[in-house]
């Protein structure tokens, strides 16, 4: 097929310019916006937790300097009760905001995941040809998971610790500015360390994610090709390669942890030094009379608590970094726009057999290499056209253009006289059905595969279609019949059965469509093939069809035969006309026929699509 040329293309989904942090925040904002009210409540709750927490050391100071110092037992009780009450309140509030935020976060991420999935579904085939499936799965799972962590946990930690930090600084300076200054003495050093290490941790974290992506790509390929790995004794090689990437994973992990260890050690030292400063200065203050003992005890608490937010924030670095790069990858994928866009002012088609035409079409998957040159053809409604030609002649490209999986470079593709670019994609694809040589089977039952997630299709419709397409006999022999569950890739059906299933599927969904059929070449046992022929005969009645033909019977029964060579239609006509013309078709046919008589008295050999190049 002409796909051969299709992919020196860049990786659309992962290339492109870097997405700015602001764009990222904007994206998250867009998905969180519907929940603004809940978020305001969460913020208010966070604010009150911070405020309540700050009250605690203050209460202790008041208790120490008041009733405890003066020996007033009755005076102490209210302090104790209030202290207790605040703690209970803090927990109620904390549970409240956790609950709320997790619900909101999950809802927002369900929306994001859904949006991303639908966005991906909208992409054109060029995107899917150049983006590995694993990459898409990884966006949809790992990257969204990372954002989940951010939205459900990290944001709370970030905001509440920021608030607490600011609150502590304010309270300390307000209560006793001299002690406050002492308590905050080491803070600048901590901030400098934070800025320095943040950069380092960010870089290492990016490296880590690259290696994880490599790891996933590697095992994905290994699992897909395990049969080959085993049959060719490649296990030692696979093991070595795996070891290499496993080592890289371990090393980068260790590197990341080391950066953080160095940073956290500095914070720890500063915590001890900071406490020592408060104790020494405060002690002097008490002795000199500008501080009370209660104040000193409260400030020890405040100072300790002021380090906590920084430690907690620093623990979120890696997490935050993970989330940011995940968010960036998601944003980049959301940024990709399909080249195939829906028509702005769509024209509608009547629901009847359609005709179609190619008008001077030139097309190539790469800019510098055309697969089709100036192809013009017209197929009236109800006609059956067979295309023959060698591999790479451009046969499959015709199908791709008709269904608008790709757009032409020059010329027009018309259905009922309307340019396919002026039709809604949905309508167009209702009017054109492509059945590939090796149809895909979805995870699910036979019925799921016939209905294709469309619950409006009744059992009766489904079974009628299966009967018409001659798929019913084999389906009804399966245990559970239409409820028979398919293995991955439809591995428990033969290729012929999958084709029958695909024909029935086409019949259920698009009874009047132009049928584009890539005929299976072999892989099909004689019995199934007889069924396929029978099903096809039913389906092709009164239908416009374009068949990439491999079998003599199809070619001979076609109303018209197009012979393609190197991206051009070189001959066309009925079998007899083409034979009389004594051109390429006749030569091919004779050569084919000669093969049959010379080496094959069983008259096998129904391939015409042969040695043209």
């Amino acid at each position: 097929m002409s796909k051969t040329q299709s992919n020196a293309l860049p990786q659309i989904a992962d290339g492109g310019e870097k997405v700015s942090d602001r764009y990222l925040v904007g994206m998250l904002g867009r998905f969180l916006a519907p929940y603004w009210f809940q978020l305001v409540v969460v913020f208010a709750l966070l604010l009150s937790v911070s405020g309540l927490t700050l009250l605690l050391p203050y209460l202790i100071q008041r208790a120490v300097d008041g009733p405890i110092t003066s020996g007033d037992l009755d005076g102490l009780i209210p302090y104790g009760v209030v202290y207790f009450g605040i703690i209970v309140l803090i927990f109620i509030v904390r549970f409240g905001h956790t609950y709320l935020l997790q619900t909101v976060g999950q809802s927002a991420l369900v929306d994001l995941r859904q949006t991303l999935f639908e966005h991906i579904l909208k992409q054109d085939m060029r995107f899917f040809n150049t983006t590995p499936v694993g990459q898409i799965v990884s966006r949809m799972s790992n990257d969204i998971e990372a954002l989940t962590e951010l939205v459900s946990t990290s944001i709370v930690v970030l905001i509440s610790n920021m608030l607490t930090l600011v609150g502590i600084i304010v309270v300390m300076l307000a209560l006793n500015w001299r002690l406050g200054v002492l308590g905050l003495a080491v803070m600048p050093i901590m901030i400098v360390a934070t800025v320095f290490f943040r950069k380092q941790i960010r870089n290492t974290s990016n490296k880590y994610h690259r290696i994880v992506a490599d790891y996933l790509a590697f095992i994905n390929e290994q699992f897909s090709g395990m049969l080959i790995v085993q049959l060719f004794n490649r296990q030692p090689v696979s093991r070595d390669e795996f070891d290499d990437i496993n080592h890289q994973l371990r090393d980068v992990h260790t590197e990341l942890r080391d950066s953080y260890t160095h940073y956290a050690s500095i914070l720890q030292i500063m915590t001890s030094v900071g406490l020592a400063v408060v104790l020494y200065g405060g002690g002097q203050g008490v002795l000199a009379g500008w501080a009370t003992l209660g104040m000193l005890i409260a400030f020890i608490e405040y100072t300790r608590r002021s380090f906590e937010p920084i430690l907690m924030l620093s623990e979120q670095f890696a997490q935050l970094q993970t989330a940011l790069s995940a968010g960036e990858r998601i944003a980049r994928m959301l940024h990709v726009q399909p080249e195939i866009q829906d028509a702005v002012n769509p024209v509608t088609l009547d629901d009847k057999p359609h005709d179609f035409a190619f008008d001077q079409v030139t097309f190539g998957y790469d800019a510098d290499r055309d697969v089709l040159h100036d192809v013009s053809l017209h197929v009236p409604a109800g006609q059956r056209v067979a295309i023959v030609g060698a591999t790479g002649a451009g046969k499959t490209s015709l199908a791709g253009l008709l269904a608008r999986f790709y757009d032409v470079n020059e010329g027009r593709v018309l259905i009922d006289g309307v340019d396919v670019r002026d039709l809604r994609l949905h309508d167009l694809r209702h009017a054109v059905t492509v059945v590939p040589q090796n149809p895909y089977c979805f995870d699910g039952t036979i019925a799921d595969n016939l209905r294709l997630f469309d619950p409006s299709i009744t059992d009766a419709q489904m079974i009628a279609a299966a009967r018409t397409a001659s798929a019913a006999p084999f389906i009804e022999r399966l245990p559970g019949a239409y409820e028979y569950r398919l293995l991955p890739g439809g591995a428990n059906l033969s290729q012929g059965q999958r084709q029958l299933l695909a024909l029935a599927r086409a019949l259920v969904h698009s009874p009047n469509s132009i049928l584009v059929l890539d005929e299976a070449t072999s892989n099909i046992d004689t019995e199934t093939e007889a069924l396929i022929q029978q099903g096809l005969a039913q389906m092709l009645r009164n239908r416009t069809s374009l068949i990439i033909a491999h079998r003599l019977s199809t070619i001979r029964e076609a109303d018209r035969i197009l012979v393609m060579s190197r991206g051009k239609v070189v001959e066309e006509g009925k079998h007899d006309q083409l034979m009389r013309r004594d051109g390429l078709y006749a030569r091919l046919y004779q050569r084919q026929f000669a093969d049959m008589t010379v080496e094959d008295d069983s008259k096998e050999n129904n391939y015409l699509a042969t040695a043209m190049d």
Binding site: L109, Q114, Q230, Q284, R304, F593
Partner: protein, 606 residues
């Protein structure tokens, strides 16, 4: 048996029912994991020793803070205070060094253990039989080998970092507190004990919930992979909305299980912190009373407060550890299937197999998968050097039978012999070296075309490579490829047509110069002329080899020395074309059908 190509439901599959060895099937549980930790005893001991120092030093810090306050209250000399603070800083220094050591050693354990586990699992995966890969979708395996493995290092990174110091901090703190005020200490102790036991009980319920979340996550990725793999079909029928709706249901279900899990998990995690904060309240109240009565100094009062802060932090960490432990249990349950499947590996007394001739015997072979017998009592003898064709309806077991040769799967009963040796008694490496396979669905790796061919046999000369490329007729296509033999193919590279892929696969098989060549419908996407050329080339190279050809069209193999006709897992007939025709049985009917179909066209053509 058809090679798998696409994803499938993530529902936890059953361990293989086929050909299980008699040893008790291993489970991935904490004991199993502990075996990996024992491999890094040095680091484990290091983390505990540094944890001990760190824990004690951390617990001593508040003691000196209290001392300073008491000295200040008593109006002591500055020198005394400075001395106290110096001791405090000393403790601080010890804790930092210990902190550093703990993180270092715990990092080693966490990443080394997960490194070892990952390697072990991958080794298993390399040895699993084909039945395993039919049951597990790639997306599901990826999620197990990634997200579930991550839980292991997450658990060890925190527990070896914090557990040692936590234990020693608690012990030291209680000793010091007990000396200050026994009643108050007892109150604190009892409260913390109750909260911890409560947490442990609640935590047990979390494991299955977490497993459910992970399973649903696996189902989501499987859905995505399925939809993307079949995207062209979806687009053809304009069913994007239907797929999106189906995904939406899964997506919402994921949110439901996740929130359900979190709503039970969060309170369990918060509990210890809450209890210790409440205890602080108790201390403020009763400690205050004791201070008022002058049975407790202000310094001691401050000590209690700080200790509670310390204990609260320690308990919070223990809570996190406990949560992770439960989650890791859930993750391990998902790793268990990666340990329990049938492994194809060398028997202990495996013999070398040199220069195999290619004589093949199947003796009473029976194959079963998931309780269904797929091959019944197969008996077949193939002399070396013959060309044998296997024909029969799709699904009759042709590929499965051939797969037994290279032991991609082992039979439940009976034996497969090569040159008279049971394939299970020879070295797997030698066995597979003597067979070259061109499987039904061709898989190429994302490397250069040349590297893919060399995969057959890495040490071939340029000449041998060129010959393989010539015989398989890829050389015709090389000019079309951007970098010739150096073009990257596979998923990340240039997309080749079905026929091109098959020809690369043939070259890959050819360079092995095997005793047995297997062509499993290997030329289905190659046009007739080219395939005739290829077959002629192969015949000249492999004159003395045994060739097994699985074919769907009988005509292409009627010249074979032996034709084996299979149906529904049994050999129904065997013999030469002529003999089988004369027999007028199953084979003759197949031929007749084929003839009827083609005869008409040829009649018209003449």
């Amino acid at each position: 048996m058809v090679a798998r190509t696409a994803p499938h439901q993530a529902a936890s599959p059953q361990p293989s029912s086929a050909a299980h060895d008699s040893t008790a099937s291993p489970r991935a549980d904490m004991r199993w994991l502990w075996g990996f930790v024992l491999g890094h005893q040095g680091a484990a001991i290091g983390s505990i020793v540094t944890g001990m120092f760190g824990g004690i030093a951390a617990a001593l810090e508040p003691y000196y803070i209290g001392l300073v306050i008491d000295h200040v209250q008593a109006g002591a000399e500055t020198g005394q205070i400075v001395q106290d603070i110096a001791l405090l800083l000393g403790m601080g220094a010890i804790s930092v060094i210990a902190f550093f050591g703990q993180r270092h050693y715990s990092g080693i354990i966490a990443y080394s253990v997960v490194f070892d586990v990952r390697r072990h699992l991958f080794d298993q995966l390399l040895a699993f039989d084909n039945a395993f890969y039919q049951r597990f979708a790639t997306g599901d395996l990826l999620s197990r080998m990634n997200a579930d493995l991550d839980m292991i290092w997450r658990l060890f990174a925190i527990s070896f970092n914090r557990l040692g110091s936590a234990v020693f901090t608690i012990i030291t703190a209680f000793i010091l507190l007990g000396r200050v005020s026994l009643p108050l200490t007892l109150v604190v102790f009892v409260v913390l004990l109750v909260s911890t036991s409560f947490q442990l009980r609640a935590g047990k319920k979390i494991t299955p919930l977490f497993e459910r979340v992970q399973n649903q996550a696996g189902a989501l990725s499987t859905s995505v992979q399925d939809a993307i793999s079949g995207i062209q079909t979806i687009k053809t029928f304009g069913r994007e909305n239907g797929v999106a709706e189906k995904f939406h249901a899964e997506n919402r279900e994921y949110r439901r299980t996740w929130l359900f899990f979190k709503r039970r998990n969060e309170p369990v995690g918060m509990l210890p912190n809450m209890i210790s904060q409440l205890t602080t309240g108790v201390v403020v109240l009763f400690g205050g009373i004791l201070a008022v009565q002058n049975t407790l100094t202000l310094g001691n009062f401050a000590q209690f407060l700080i200790y509670l802060g310390l204990l609260s932090g320690v308990l919070l960490n223990l809570g996190v550890m406990y949560q992770r432990l439960q989650q890791t249990r859930g993750a391990l349950a998902r790793l268990t299937p990666l340990l329990q499947n049938a492994i194809v590996s060398d028997e202990p007394d495996a013999q070398p197999l040199d220069n195999a001739h290619g004589e093949i015997t199947f003796e009473h072979v029976r194959v079963e998968m998931d309780g269904v017998t797929l091959l019944h009592d197969i008996d077949l003898r193939i002399p070396a050097g013959q060309v044998v064709a296997f024909v029969g309806p799709t699904g009759c077991g042709k590929t499965l039978l051939i797969n037994l040769l290279a032991r991609v799967l082992d039979p439940v009963e009976g034996r497969v012999l090569i040159d008279g040796h049971d394939v299970r008694s020879v070295k797997l490496n030698d066995l597979r070296k003597s067979i070259a396979y061109v499987p039904q669905s061709t898989f190429l790796f994302s490397r250069t075309l040349e590297a893919n061919v060399r995969m057959g046999k890495p040490d071939i000369s340029e000449g041998e490579l060129a010959r393989a490329i010539a015989i398989s007729r890829i050389n015709n296509d090389l000019t079309q490829l951007p970098h010739g033999v150096d073009t990257i193919v596979g998923e990340k590279g240039v997309m080749l047509s079905g026929g091109q892929k098959q020809r690369v696969a043939i070259a890959r098989a050819l360079v092995r110069e095997p005793a047995i060549l297997v062509l499993d419908d290997a030329l289905s996407s190659v046009d007739m002329h080219t395939s005739a050329d290829i077959l002629a080339g192969l015949r000249s190279v492999l004159k003395t080899r045994t060739s097994l050809i699985i074919a769907h069209r009988i005509a292409s193999v009627k010249d074979a020395d032996l034709i084996v006709v299979m149906n529904e897992g049994r050999i129904v007939e065997q013999g030469t074309h002529e003999a089988l025709i004369a027999r007028a049985g199953f084979y003759a009917r197949m031929v007749e059908r084929e003839l009827n179909e083609d005869a008409e066209h040829v009649k018209n053509a003449v």
